[in-house]
């Protein structure tokens, strides 16, 4: 069976468009808010959505997503609850959905990838599972047709080649060293970084970490096939709580316009 992520990128390529990928922490403000936000983001022109499964100790995240994870956990968010939420969403949308979560969450859930397939998850992003540990979950992910999205960073250098070789779906390019969060500026030499990536990548590559508005999305998109926006969305939930959906729609429209301009 074809993966929705591949289908989406084929569709975008045919339309000559860049991918807009967004991230939201599941259960931040409650499952219902997350569900509404996911559907609103699709309506506002988002192509792929990453759903963060909150973890007690998210070492790759900056303050924004750390706090969102903590809020979600305090509300009693669980992996089981996230799967149920995704199952409800799948009745309403065909948008590619990924789970972003830490290795221990998968490790402690023996039927994790079967559940992913059952509810309609297309891929996972595991920030603490580098190339060296890539085969930890490979067999069960492959058996269920779930992609494991690989990350590369500006300090990956000669690792990019071997990472690109095993990458599925799209390559997640981290714009700058450090943790997630909006940034005022990027210090990475993008021409060099994306030069290295373009040489190795046989699949689309998208950029995340630090993209905060339509303008930054527009500027960075000339280097890649799409952008990933997380903290800027999560900030809206932090700021507006249950009233965040219109604000999320607004920023997604702005990002879409930035990418399409």
């Amino acid at each position: 069976m074809a993966n929705r992520i591949d289908e989406k990128f084929a569709e975008l390529k045919a339309q000559n468009k860049k991918a807009l990928i967004t991230y939201i922490v599941a259960g931040d403000g409650g499952y219902e808010l997350t569900e509404k936000a996911v559907l609103a983001m699709e309506q506002a022109g988002v192509d792929i959505i990453e759903i963060g499964v909150p973890f007690s100790d998210p070492i790759a995240e900056g303050g924004t997503i750390q706090m969102a994870s903590q809020r979600a956990l305090q509300r009693g968010t669980t992996l089981k609850g996230v799967f149920e939420m995704v199952a409800r969403l799948r009745e309403k949308t065909n948008i590619p959905l990924l789970l972003m979560l830490y290795a221990n969450t998968i490790f402690r859930s023996p039927d994790f990838f079967d559940k992913c397939k059952e509810v309609g998850i297309d891929g996972v992003i595991v920030p603490d599972l580098p190339f060296e540990e890539h085969d930890e979950f490979k067999a069960s992910a492959d058996a269920n047709g779930i992609y494991n999205i690989s990350l590369v960073t500006p300090v990956s250098h000669d690792r990019i080649k071997k990472i690109a070789k095993v990458a599925q779906g799209f390559l997640y390019c981290v714009s700058s060293v450090g943790v997630t969060g909006v940034r005022d500026k990027f210090s990475t030499d993008f021409d060099k970084f994306f030069g290295e990536i373009a040489e190795s990548a046989k699949i689309p590559y998208c950029v995340g970490f630090g993209i905060r508005d339509g303008e930054t999305a527009h500027k960075i998109s000339r280097h890649c096939n799409g952008v990933i926006v997380g903290s800027a969305i999560v900030n809206k939930v932090a700021e507006f709580g249950q009233d965040a959906v219109p604000e999320i729609t607004k920023i997604c429209r702005e990002l879409r316009a930035g990418l399409d301009s």
Partner: protein, 395 residues
Amino acid sequence: MEKIGRFGEFGGQYVPETVMNAVSELLEAYEHYKNDPVFIQELHDLYRNYAFRPSLLYYADKMTKDLGGAKIYIKREDLNHTGSHKINNALGQVLLAKHMGKKRVIAETGAGQHGVATATVCAYFDLECEVYMGREDMERQALNVYRMELLGAKVTGVDSGTATLKDAINEAMRDWATNIETTFYCIGSVMGPHPYPTMVRDFQKIIGEEAKKQIMEAEGKLPDCVVACVGGGSNAMGIFYDFIPDTSVRLVGAEAAGRGIDTPDHAATISKGDLGIFHGMKSIFLQNDEGQIAPVFSISAGLDYPGIGPEHAWLHSTGRADYVAITDEEAVQAFEYLSKVEGIIPAVESAHAVAAARKIAPTMRPDQIMIINLSGRGDKDVQQIARYRGVNING
């Protein structure tokens, strides 16, 4: 794919891609320098002339007579410069950082002993040093915070999560990912991604090597039992390692049972934990059914960690070492006991080992020998013990 840095199924390199290049660079540098005669000589000179090694192996005559079982020797790591075994590892790693051309060193600390040791060696080598410490630990170990600042280090409080050791490690890892090209992360225990568990054990194994030589000189035979406290497990790996092939030597780790392992307030990872992946390694962790890392509790900030080094998990799984859980109350009693009986005030961490020894030694014969690793001195803990006992010493 070939798996590196494993102890059985435990260990590995479960860290974000951003730090993987630095981890690989560290591995390469460590593999080179550990066999470099110049580096080895420098380190041993520092051990001898700066850290005051070899540390004494002290025969605890009164304790032996009082407990009426095994002959008890105490390995006096508390007499090292900076007051604990942590200096052994800090010297090794910061010397390595210096050779690698790094200008900035970061560390996490729980009780503050590793932070103090790292700050000390950074002062010695003129390197910038920043130490992450949980806010709660800063309060219970205020003296060590001041010591680190005195040594020129910046101490950064961590408020996230439980504001203790695991959160300090999270924050140090985030700093490392952000300043990856200039910064060396000096991990304080036998934990984290490969090569840290192996490297830190190698820098600590001198404890066991000395102890073996010293006990052979004093008694002409191997000990029957070696006891050490275990948080992440660096002092225990340090004294255990050289005895692992000597299967007649029983190895015992004492972990923190806090208010008791049947309460939620403990840090007894081996007793109550499960296999998981966290802080760069596959090992045993205290966690809930969905793999969320559990809050932990211990009177000892140095043992207040929800995981254990992968080599300990392996020693446990193979049955080579035993792990026992010691409550706060037992540790405080042992703290007072060693102070009164031998005139040695142990760190509250090390008091867990003393408490385990008090249980095990009476079950042994007088012709048998036990070595307790006294990993640190207790000056830093006096105020907290007084508070635990309800004594106000602040006037």
